[in-house]
């Protein structure tokens, strides 16, 4: 009996030793991996407001979301703007307030670079797109953000108090989000938010650093969790499955362009326009030649040409967008609608399908189908997602003209 107990204790001791060694080993390997932080680092906020003419004009903040937007548009080609290769840094490091021997002033540099590129890429070029008159913003700031539900004014106060506590921490370098209760009221059930009685706002439990009541879920995560329908981003993402939205959005990866639209929520109250109609008709897209009907006859060996009712499609998509306040708020500009079909086109330039898709499906590039397939995938895919039953997916002659003399 004694012997057995001895053996038992011995085996326990051996196991304990092994566990100890193992944990040390694991910790060592963990420590050895080192910190793999993002290779591309960009500061949170850039400001161009040190301009000489600062007394007259103030410059818009070139913040992280704008930087991300530019990174995306240039295809992560940092050199497009940061022209000194290998020493990508702030413009202001070299470009000072006045012109020097070889280095032009910040004002000239930004005007030449920004506007020059914007002209080429159809970006914003008006003064007011980047600048505001001095003093204008201050008055706008003082204007109070309309809280539709006046019965709960303490919500905003709470938020501000929370903000004061954490001002300056990385979480709050973004402008606070002004959440419109009234608009969202009808969706709260659908989003399955467990509204506890007595709880004032999300931020009461989901604080910047996380609290016990909020299950240590920080405010940032609680609002941005894309897989969770209870979060802002998750619920908005889920709305994209609606029939009106699915035509364009179902072919996009979840959270695509997410980094480019930070300011759509994190905005100054004065900028909040509250879901105005994007435009009423396709005619409002000015300076663009929008064809009424596009004839697709590039590959008409077997079937005749297809008459694509181009303008009708745009108008019906616009109708869907204008019905929804969410859609009108988040669609970035008038040209956004074009990008649904003319994906990967540069802003303001709607390229035809044959610009990228070859007439032969050569199978070299798996993710870029041939022209014939591209047409079919785009038209049939969108009709399928939007629940448009006619023309049907297998009704070839619904779209194609029948060539005389051919049996089909």
């Amino acid at each position: 009996m004694k012997q057995r107990r001895y053996q038992y204790i011995k085996s326990l001791a051996v196991i304990a030793c092994m566990a100890f060694i193992l944990t040390i080993g694991v910790n060592l390997t963990k420590g050895g991996q080192g910190d793999i932080s993002g290779i591309e680092t960009s500061p949170d906020v850039f400001t161009f407001d040190m301009l000489g003419g600062g007394d007259r004009l103030e410059t818009k903040r070139f913040d992280k979301s704008l930087h991300d937007l530019h990174t995306e548009i240039t295809g992560k080609e940092c050199g497009t703007c940061h022209h000194v290769k290998g020493k990508e840094t702030s413009c202001r490091k070299c470009h000072k307030e006045t012109d020097r021997k070889k280095i032009i002033s910040m004002k000239n540099a930004s005007h030449i670079s920004c506007i020059g590129c914007h002209r080429e890429m159809s970006g914003p070029v008006n003064c007011s797109d980047c600048h505001t008159r001095s003093g204008e913003e201050e008055t706008a700031k003082s204007g109070e953000f309309p809280i539709p539900n006046q019965a709960k004014p303490e919500i905003m106060k709470e938020r501000e108090k929370d903000l004061d506590k954490h001002r300056g921490t990385p979480v709050h370098k973004m402008s606070p989000v002004h959440f419109d209760h009234e608009i969202h009221r009808e969706y709260l059930d659908k989003c399955d938010i467990p509204l506890r009685s007595g709880s004032g706002s999300c931020a009461e439990c989901h604080t910047a650093d996380g609290s016990k009541q909020g299950q240590m879920l920080t405010a940032e995560h609680a609002m941005h969790e894309i897989e969770n329908k209870k979060s802002c981003v998750g619920c908005h993402e889920d709305k994209k499955k609606d029939k009106e939205c699915a035509g364009c959005h179902r072919v996009m990866r979840k959270g695509e362009n997410f980094n480019a639209i930070c300011l759509k929520c994190h905005m100054e109250p004065s900028k909040h326009k509250g879901g105005k109609a994007l435009m009423n008709k396709s005619e409002d897209i000015q300076d663009r030649d929008i064809a009424d009907v596009v004839i697709i006859d590039k590959l008409s060996a077997r079937y005749g040409a297809v008459e694509l009712p181009h303008r009708r499609i745009i108008d019906s998509l616009l109708l869907g967008i204008n019905k929804s306040k969410l859609a009108t708020h988040f669609h970035n500009g008038k040209e956004t609608i074009c990008l649904g079909c003319h994906h990967y086109s540069p802003p303001g330039k709607a390229l035809g399908c044959d610009a990228c898709h070859n007439s032969l499906s050569d199978g070299q590039d798996l993710s870029r189908p041939g022209l014939n397939i591209a047409y079919h995938q785009q038209c049939i895919g969108c009709h399928d997602f939007m629940g448009i039953e006619s023309p049907g997916s297998t009704g070839c002659v619904d779209c194609h003209k029948v060539i005389e003399g051919k049996t089909e």
Partner: protein
């Protein structure tokens, strides 16, 4: 000669251990992962609209007889069909009842296994897995035993029963001749939706994974054919579980030849070693008998001599 019980058991155990050595050697063989750089076809059911143009193209390129109902008659989709000697590929429709969405289509044809069961069952080597990835059939050596039809886990090969003189086993060839000419297989070329993608099998698996991770709510996380029956050159991704669209999920990941290799590997051992062994045992026994006989003879002779001596003294 008489065989004692002990002797018989001795032989049996000797023979048993000999055959065991050979089977263990086969069991430890390396897993074959297909020819490097072999081609494959990915069928993305998310794109398929069930237009049957692949069936039409297959019919034309293989010079098969025209079907009773034309290819643009989609009423044939109301029934579940199998591949036949006159239709080497068929598309079936499955309703998406759960989410009340548009139906899911599945195209059936030979899956071109990396280690084909048909080829391992064929004793005249009529089937061959080519380095391009397709499994091809040589009718000139086929004896018509149809073991391949029994062996195929996907129930694909069909037989020309109405061909009295030269019946062939019929199945998809992945258009092997076209592939060698650097052309696309007929069905891939015909698909208007890009539901069929031709390429290197490894690249296709990578692309399929990308599709699944890009649209997690549109595909189930499974590439059918990546591991099934040891892997196939034809791959599938679908929005419904494969068991709901008429595909077997119970096949396991062991290639069919591996299941029979042990038993079939023993055949040469039994055929060659056993005869040598038994002949050896027989020879040893014969020698023993001979020796015993000689000894007996000598003993008798000796006894005879002794008797003579005794009689001499008397």
């Amino acid at each position: 000669m008489s065989i004692s019980r002990r002797k018989f058991l001795g032989w049996v155990s000797a023979a048993g251990s000999a055959s065991l050595i050979s089977t263990t050697a086969h069991g430890a063989r390396k897993h074959f992962k297909g020819y490097p750089d072999c081609y494959g076809i990915l069928y993305d059911s998310g794109f398929c609209i069930g237009c049957r143009q692949c069936e039409e193209a297959c019919n034309a390129v293989n010079k098969l007889s025209a079907p009773v109902k034309p290819f643009d008659d989609l009423s044939v989709l109301n029934q579940k069909r199998r591949t036949t000697a006159k239709a080497l590929t068929v598309v079936n429709r499955y309703e998406n009842k759960k989410e009340n969405k548009s139906p899911v289509f599945i195209k059936l044809q030979c899956n071109h296994c990396l280690e084909p069961a048909c080829a391992s069952a064929c004793f005249v080597k009529a089937f061959k897995k080519t380095k391009e990835g397709s499994v091809v059939y040589d009718p000139s050596v086929c004896v018509g035993c149809r073991y391949c039809m029994i062996a195929c886990p996907f129930e694909i090969p069909a037989y020309e029963y109405d061909e009295p003189y030269t019946p062939r086993v019929m199945k998809c060839t992945m258009c092997h001749d076209l592939i060698k000419e650097n052309k696309l297989p007929a069905c891939v070329e015909a698909c208007p939706m890009g539901a069929l993608k031709f390429g290197k099998r490894n690249a296709l698996i990578k692309y399929a994974r990308e599709r699944i991770s890009k649209f997690p709510d549109r595909y189930i996380d499974h590439i059918y054919g990546e591991h099934e029956m040891g892997g196939t050159s034809w791959l599938y991704i679908s929005s419904l579980p494969f068991k709901d669209v008429g595909m077997r999920e119970d096949l396991g990941i062991t290639p069919a030849p591996e299941l029979t290799a042990g038993a079939l590997g023993a055949v040469p051992v039994v055929a060659s070693l056993w005869t040598v062994l038994l002949t050896g045992i027989y020879a040893i026994n014969r020698r023993k008998e001979k020796l015993a006989e000689r000894e007996k003879k000598e003993a008798v002779e000796a006894a005879g001599r002794d008797k003579k001596k005794v009689s001499l003294y008397e």
